[in-house]
Symmetry: C2
Subunit: 447 residues, 2 copies
């Protein structure tokens, strides 16, 4: 009997990608690390649906961002949409749940979001976000904590060459008010944001185009370009503008942040005052954070955020001020890969128990079971193929150690342990194998 | 200036729900446990997009299941669909990636899936699946491992009153062939599946309706109802049908499974032969697994799976036999909740550092930092509110301990530790607080 099968071409949509183990193992590591760090600081996990009423998601953005949203009519003829970030669903969540949960409320959320964007510049239409926020308090303690969490996160990821750039919008706002430029603040900040790209003269020209006098523009640029020790700059500002309440509020909040980071014994060079950063123009109102990898500055900020006045005004009259940041998971992974900090292992297990004699499966599985009880991740090769083939498989997948026992070894109660990188071999008993594995892993991972 | 704000009603779609911390903390715990157990057995994580070409997802199911799929046209006028399970995307993934990755390939995947189902009976339209599979081998070692993984998973979840019911389709298939009923096997199995619900006589009537002679039906029912020790039943079958190659293949595979579980020292009552289970009629071809919580039998199987002949035949000519199972995350959580095994904590942190004196934030944060370095999860209350209010917050959220230090304590270098459940209080120094916390947590968690 012949069978005619009409096959479907296996393919993914443009802008979407699979995560095979070599990509997924590092992504899980980053997410797990973030989860641990967020939890260690008292942030609690929440999740919201991927699909929402379209009006919930399209309410906030402009026409341009609305165009990127995946929208359709569901089975019940409702207009629904896939979330394009985790902030808008969090605002909707907060409007419903915070009255019951109470404030302060500290949450983290991790998950995919979808945007029908142009896929040039390596952009994907599905990517992960990983946010944490404290809402329901204007206390500077929450602002300070965001910087401490970012520091703890990157340290836990095994990175040390990074820098958290911190600003407070109140400093610039106070200054602009003093110069009579408050009305032009958005235009000014937009021009200021381009400083690293287009240079001082071009920024001044652009500011002039918005009606900012050249002298005022220059003062703002001078402020944004102040270099040196954070505390010294803040003292300088405080001395020059003692009566400027808005500016002084920003200065004092920043001072306290640097003081607390210092009290925790954290390296001061990782917390840098940067009066030129002004991200999220229409949204952030206080402290602002960006995080740069010193060896990959070109990739931009990999963890950013800030303080906002009101999270959920579109959905509730309860005012919910807050502060938080978002880890750019995919951008960070791309950077780690480029920096050679990702291993190319395709298995989460480090030990392969080979199968020499198919009739002794019970022995192999009991040994694997014992090694797992001792805390190791262990795979048993499923077929009694030639040992050479099994070892080839082990090396290709990135196992560190292979356990081998043929009939002779089993009759003597011996277990051979092969270090795949060092190509060395030692023999143990059933009782001593686990400690042999621990030592061999230590040397394999240290190498 | 008055502002008129048109608010949007904050609501979720029918069949969708938010996960606030009280629900999300247990879900994360289940997923993390599954992740650890899968990895410890050498399964590697993969992920696939939520959206696929509709033809990929609709290729397999019948019309009925296709109707449940969320489908729409994307910005590029492609017909796209949200995945309704993790198996079909895995088959598509395997067709693309396994030629490069090689076999055997062991993967796990966790994530939400979407079905536009009727929401009665507490069904949700978005829910999580959590699958693991070994593909590219027909070896019984892979079948055995699935049972061991399920056992390790439920043990790691802190459960001991569970039972893995195991069958092999080959036993029944062999028997049906011997009785000349091979052609009626699907109808027979469908009737057999109803045995617990409708009873023996009704099943026989239904079988007769499919053209199965009453005598043949009775023999099948007798087999399915055999009770007793697994090994004894298998011996009985082997003695009665020694020349039935298909049945003997099934018997031998089952024998080896029980033998290996026994060799690993696992309680034999947790691995039970059940010749009546026949799930996944058109899909599974060998070993079949169901997992029941002995205290919640009504909820049905919470972890099920089996062996199949060919995963990805719709997308590739490469034959990929495999075996695996899927943890019903939401069903398990519902069971744990009903069994009172979920705590209602709303924070992942156990310790709240209260803020007595707002000017001493650096001291509180340094202490929190030190406690985190010692491995504890610690939240700092963000405002110097009345201590009573902060302690109320701590109790409501489920913190175990509160750390309190006012100006007097700080000047003496003292830190008070309050056990919130026991309502006891002890005083420590900055150096001894961490060990005091460790002891207090031990007693609080043991209580």
């Amino acid at each position: 009997m012949t069978e005619t099968i009409k096959r479907i071409e296996p393919r993914t949509l443009k802008g979407f990608r699979d995560y095979p183990p070599a990509l997924m193992i590092p992504r899980e590591k980053v997410l797990e690390t973030a989860r641990q760090v967020y939890r260690a600081h008292g942030f609690a996990p929440i999740d919201t649906p991927a699909l929402e009423y379209a009006e919930i998601l399209t309410g906030k953005g402009g026409e341009e961002s609305d165009r990127l949203i995946y929208q359709f009519k569901d089975h019940g003829d409702r207009q629904v949409a896939l979330r394009f970030d985790l902030t808008v669903p969090f605002a909707r969540f907060a409007a419903i749940h915070v009255p019951k949960i109470g404030t302060p409320f500290k949450r983290y959320a991790m998950g995919p979001v979808w945007r029908g964007e142009n896929t040039s510049h390596g952009r994907y239409r599905e990517f992960w976000q990983c946010d944490f926020d404290t809402i329901g308090t204007t206390s500077n303690a929450a602002d300070i904590e965001v910087a401490l969490v970012i520091h703890a996160l990157f340290t836990a990821l095994g990175l040390d060459r990074f820098e958290i750039r911190i600003n407070n919008r109140l400093v610039l706002n106070g200054l602009l008010a003093e110069y009579g430029l408050a009305d032009q603040s958005v235009a000014l900040l937009r021009a200021l944001d381009k400083l690293p790209k287009i240079g001082m003269e071009a920024v001044l020209d652009e500011m002039a185009g918005y009606g900012v006098p050249r002298e005022g523009g220059q003062k703002v640029l001078e402020l944004a370009s102040l270099k040196g020790e954070s505390a010294a700059i803040l003292d300088q500002l405080a001395t020059a503008h003692p009566g400027n309440a808005t500016l002084m509020e920003g200065v004092n909040r920043l001072r306290e942040l640097f003081k607390v980071a210092d009290a925790c014994g954290l390296p001061s060079e990782r917390f840098r005052l940067d009066l030129s950063i002004a991200r999220g123009l229409d949204y952030y109102t206080g402290t602002i954070y960006e995080t740069f990898l010193l060896d990959m500055p070109s990739i931009g900020s990999v963890c950013s955020g800030g303080r906002y006045d009101n999270l959920a005004g579109l959905y509730t009259s309860q005012k919910l001020p807050g502060v938080g940041a978002s880890l750019g998971v995919d951008r960070l992974l791309a950077a780690l890969e480029e920096m050679g900090k990702l291993t190319s292992r395709e298995t989460p297990a480090e030990i392969l128990v080979t199968q020499f004699d198919g009739s002794r499966l019970a022995d192999y599985y009991r040994m694997a079971f014992n090694l797992r009880q001792a805390g190791f991740a262990v795979e048993v090769y499923p077929e009694p193929k030639k040992i050479g083939q099994q070892l080839q498989y082990a090396e290709k997948r990135g196992f560190k150690l292979a356990v081998i026992a043929g009939p002779d070894e089993l009759s003597r109660g011996d277990w051979k342990l092969k270090n795949l990188a060092a190509r060395t071999e030692e023999t143990f008993t059933a009782e001593t194998l686990a400690s042999g594995v621990a030592k061999a892993l230590e040397s394999a991972n240290g190498a």
